[in-house]
Structure formats: structure tokens, C-alpha cells
Amino acid sequence: MMTINELSHKLGLKIITEIPKKLERKVTGVYSCDLLSHAMAKINEGDVWITIHTNLNVVAVASLTDCACVLIPENIEIEKQMAERAAEKEVVLLSGAKSAAELCYEIFRLIKD
């Protein structure tokens, strides 16, 4: 079992919202989807949710589903408004260089061990 902090270091992910107590949360799964209603229905508590959307609605869905964190792939620029809202709602926001598929694979491998 791995924390968000450990996962971020292992995969070289950038932590956009620093919420120390939340970074110690265990990651239990990974889910990738860009349709918000679909994601909301399928995300499990403790999942890393990978999406290319960088709008405020992502923060709302992350908060309602209680996923471990949101990971934006491919170094997609994150809107300032989103980062601010994430900090306010205590939603951990991460950014990675790789594609959603590669990140899913790597996270899955790490948390399975």
C-alpha cells in the first residue's frame, strides 16, 4: 500500500496542491475517465483519478467521490482557478508528464505490489 506522497515521488509527479495531511492518504486504486458523470459513478474512494479536464467541475467531482487525488497527465496546463479551488476544498492535485494510459499502468503496478 502506498501513500500519495510516495507515489508522487516514485513516478516523478508534481504536487500542485500541498495539503500535508492528505498526502499521507493511501492510494487504493486508479481510474481514468474524462466524462464527469461517468467518472462520478465509477470512481472509488481512494482512487487516483486521471483526467485531462482542468476546470472547476473536476474539483467538485473529486470532492464528492472522495477520490485520493486528481492527476492531470501530459503536463497539461492547470487553470489557476482550478488549483485555487482544489486547495480550498482540500483536493490533492497532481501533474504528470506521461499519458493517462502510461500513468494508469505505472500506478497499477506500484499499488499492486
Binding site: 474524462d34 466524462l35 464527469l36 458523470s37 461517468h38 467518472a39 462520478m40 459513478a41 474512494e45 483526467t51 479536464h53 476546470n55 472547476l56 467541475n57 473536476v58 467538485a60 467531482v61 470532492s63 464528492l64 467521490t65 472522495d66 482557478q81 476544498k89
Partner: protein, 142 residues
Amino acid sequence: MASVVVRDYIIPANDFTIAGEASSNVRKILSQLGVAPDIVKRTSIAMYEAEINAVIHGNGGQAHVEIDENKIVITISDQGPGIEDLELAMQEGYSTAPDSIREMGFGAGMGLSNMKKNSDILDIKTAVNEGTTVNITVFFKK
């Protein structure tokens, strides 16, 4: 039975800076009341979908929430264009959301089916050019 908590929220039209705030607030209240996490999640999903629909399709509206020790009843109403064919709208994948809304990640056509799946009673009253009222009931105990 007397309601223990009653809340009212205004849902502004097309304002995504606060879309979801009412659902988020209700989620917090339910958690504080010690409602089981899976029930909190089901309620949040159903309410968020209804709230977002009011933002996107209903020109905004209002939410009225009543919580007692057995259940939560959420009423979200708008004075928007109404739903022409409710049966069609209930079908998963059917959506009338414009492209600008789809670009944000909405418009999957799962809103109403998510509401149905996550509520114990779902009642929708709608009339063209008059508006839509969605009633969601979730029981705390099975």
C-alpha cells in the same frame, strides 16, 4: 416525523464557479450526522447530477433539502424549458447538452440514469416551457 435539518439553496444559471456547492454542502451535513459513507456517496451523486442539470438546462433554479433520521428528500426545481420527452431523456447516452458544455466533460447522457441508480425514489415532474422539478429520496437504512 419532524425534520431535523432543512436547507435551501439557490442554483445560479450557467455558473460553473459554484456549481456543485449545494451538493457539497449536503454531503458535509450528512457526514457530520454520521450517515453511512455509501449512502452519503449515493446522495451526493444523485444531487450533483440534478444540480448540474439545473445549471446547464434549467436556467438555474433552487434546491430544498429535508433530512430526518430515516431519509433525505431533495427537491431541485427550475423554471427552464422543461424536458420534451422524459422517457428518451432517461435513456443512458441521450443528451441535449451543447458543445461548450461537452468540452467541460458533461453531456455524457448519464445524469438522469445516475440519479435513478443512486436514489431510492426518483420523481420527475416536467412541462415544456414551464420547468422541471426533480424529487430525490434516499433512505439511510436498507
